[in-house]
Symmetry: C2
């Protein structure tokens, strides 16, 4: 595409995206597309000849938009708030337009050094000490997997440089709570520990990991001749934002020489507000930590921040040194290809830089406090409503609730079916998108607050919609 065409279509697309965002609340938040409908609108064969850009916007309207679930919609209450502030959209445009590589320092010094600086900014913003060094990954799944690989290599004395994990004779064991994110299990399995060496420790009434049971499991594994290796503590679990107690877990990890990884993928953003930092007290003793600015903070996906206390260990696990990647600055600079799994890397740091310039730390704090306040308000409504109950504390922006009609009290299967039907009815209304989850055998309605345009009125709206649906179901 030549630059004239780029200018012309680029300006049109800027207007198109702006109009989309201006009217995002008018779309059904969950796509109404049926399986196969989008694909059926696309040609069977790739275009043989180029120059077919005239209808691009018409095709985006006709083919793509009906198949979009609108994550930045004010009625989006499912999964996690994946806010894409418009400043980060422009940052991504610059990153794509320049098209540099952040794999080596030399392959674009600015891509590495802006990342150096914004990772330092982010570190101080969330109150982490300067003993941590940060790098950008794509997702928390990748960050947690990286942490487990590093833990494996520390405990095994760098088995990867010898016979590998398969040459270890006393199996290594990983621990997390039964509320840990699925990426912990996935990472442990992919890293080769095996499901038999992953202990999902029971949680307390607030769904937080019980350190006494963790200690017991570690002792039992030691007695059985196994080698405890790593603990993943979650600050803000996925289902209910439960807070594993980091400080006592860190005590235990230090006592037994275990790697401590803290998964604060969502909740890390809240730590921009000093008043919430007690939630992860002890975090400075973690070996590694993940928090995702693409969750809630406002930098569009993907921007996961991975912090470690021993970067030399990370580099030793991740580095290769082929001749064709050597540059004259090696040893003087960070070559970020050695800080993670992929070799090639986008210039993602721009997204955080632009967001912070546009919104400021104070702007982000104000939004986080608004969302936590809105979730607290919803929790109060649920607590005050007859026939409704809340199934977990709501320290952050997620409220786990359910409708308990008198006729079904105590019948878990009936309650699950009823509440799933209530949610399905609300979602069918197209104004709100929310989900359900299993919380230790009970189906909960999960209201995850925090989409950027979501105000109190929208939270009140979804609560009203839930009550109406419950009355009809």
């Amino acid at each position: 595409m030549d630059t004239d065409q780029f200018r012309s279509l680029g300006h049109e697309l800027i207007e198109w995206i702006a109009a989309y965002r201006d009217h995002i609340g008018d779309y059904p938040v969950l796509s109404r597309s049926q399986p196969g409908e989008v694909a059926a609108l696309l040609p069977h064969e790739p275009p043989l000849r180029g120059g077919q850009m005239d209808d691009v916007i018409a095709d985006l309207e006709r083919i793509v938009l009906p198949g979009i679930t609108h994550w930045n919609h004010p009625g989006f209450f499912n999964f996690f708030p994946s806010n894409t502030d418009l400043s980060s959209v422009l940052a991504d445009l610059v990153s794509s337009g320049l098209g540099p590589q952040a794999m080596n320092w030399q392959t674009s010094p600015a891509a590495t050094e802006v990342e150096d600086v914004v990772m330092e900014w982010l570190r101080t913003m969330v109150g982490l000490p300067d003993s941590f060094s940060g790098v950008i990954a794509d997702t928390a799944s990748t960050s947690t997997f990286t942490a487990l690989l590093c833990a494996r290599e520390r405990t095994s004395g760098f088995s990867q440089n010898g016979g590998g994990l398969q040459a270890e004779r006393a199996p290594l064991v990983v621990y997390a709570s039964d509320q840990a994110h699925s990426s912990v299990q996935k990472g442990a399995l992919l890293a080769g520990f095996g499901a038999a060496h992953l202990r999902l420790i029971a949680t307390d009434d607030e769904h937080a990991l019980r350190p006494d049971l963790l200690e017991q499991a570690v002792e039992e594994d030691l007695a059985a001749g196994l080698r405890p290796c790593a603990v993943v503590a979650t600050v803000g679990t996925t289902v209910s934002t439960a807070l594993d107690p980091v400080a006592p877990i860190a005590d235990l990890c230090e006592r037994h020489g275990l790697w401590l990884h803290v998964d604060a993928a969502l909740a890390g953003t809240a730590m921009v507000c000093p008043e919430y930092r007690d939630m992860w007290r002890g975090v400075e003793r973690a070996d590694s930590l993940v928090l995702n600015p693409h969750k809630w903070m406002g930098t569009g996906f993907d921007l996961s921040a991975y912090y470690v206390r021993d970067p030399e260990h990370l580099v030793r696990v991740m580095s290769t040194d082929p001749s064709y990647l050597r540059t004259t600055q090696d040893g003087l600079v960070r070559n970020l290809r050695d800080w993670g799994i992929p070799l090639g890397r986008r210039f993602r740091a721009l997204k955080l830089w632009f967001l912070l310039r546009a919104e400021g730390v104070e702007g982000i704090r104000a939004r986080i406090r608004r969302d936590v306040g809105n979730a607290a308000w919803l929790a109060q409504q649920v607590d005050a409503a007859p026939d409704w109950e809340r199934l977990a504390p709501a320290p952050l922006q997620t409220v786990c609730l359910r409708h308990v009609p008198e006729r079904q009290a105590g019948d878990e299967a009936a309650l699950a079916a009823h509440n799933a039907a209530v949610v399905a009815r609300v979602v069918a209304g197209s104004d709100y998108y929310l989900g359900t989850a299993d919380l230790k055998g009970r189906l909960v309605v999960r209201v995850s607050v925090g989409s950027q345009p979501t105000e109190r009125e929208h939270v009140a709206g979804v609560w009203e919609a839930l009550q109406q649906a419950a009355a009809l179901t």
Copy 2:
């Protein structure tokens, strides 16, 4: 950022990127920035208050641009051609602006289904049979790592669901050539095989894997009680674009039940031209395959295409099924979170769609043929020049050459120092960026042709610059 500000700055940035691309050849291709210079221009603290977007473009000019190495510059001959056609820049803008998630089908059906379709287009474009199913990953490193994890699980009978790789008693072994990319070694080590169970098989005079030595290594490992697991065959090695013979390797893999992964990260793009497909004859028998449209084809980074013959196996290795990720369409659709390591996924398929509309399959073919022709022309010049030699066949777009002054003939150390100095002198001139690599003990000057604006005159220019630098060194 509100939409008014987005419109205003967005239009400015479209013009800024267009002007950058119009004048890209005027910049020094390799950034002249010194370590720490970019970082020193950024504030020590993150912006506390927002609304600081007025100087963004001035800051991009002052802070970022001097620190950019220009990958889309006509004088870029290093690493690989990471072309970012402007159509894919606009596609990325749309992806960022909509901000959907391609993790589940339901989380944006269009993101999954456009990916379904363009991965089918790409498959037919490079002549792969319909026994392959494709998915987009970030990089070839990740794709190859995924392949090795899948191989590990097939050979070990899903050890990850039991004791893990660490419970296996007969070690699994991985094979590749001594010219395989560093990501093969990295993937094998991270997957837990261990360096002691990675065999880098010697290559022939054309730097291609020798199947006879591979067979011998497999037999020796079997005799020693080890379990041969996977072979990575490279079509287009990184240093010299050598072509491992896929068909005989596939024979051997079938005989011994080994997983065959084909790394065609760069060369896969060439297969858009039917006349080059003989280079990967036998590829239809691979278990998995990676080719990177973000290399050479023109979709901006990151877009790595990973194809597998047994998607059910991939999903079985990669899937988790937590309650909070279940949707009503599960079983009817592809949930792409189960097709790779990360959970969250960008809507990257748009980049390939836009590129194909803009350039067409024929447009891409014409560019590939131009680049292969330019590389062949350079190879001819080198062959015809006294005191220069070519150290590898140049079937695609990379030419490995060196200057051999009479006084240094036969002295490998002196030749290495001399040619490194020649390259340093050329790069210091700021018109061309190229690198050196080790090719089985000999330092080669690597000229990787294929940046989108690179025409014959630029190839002639870098050749002229090399000759001048050699005369002065």
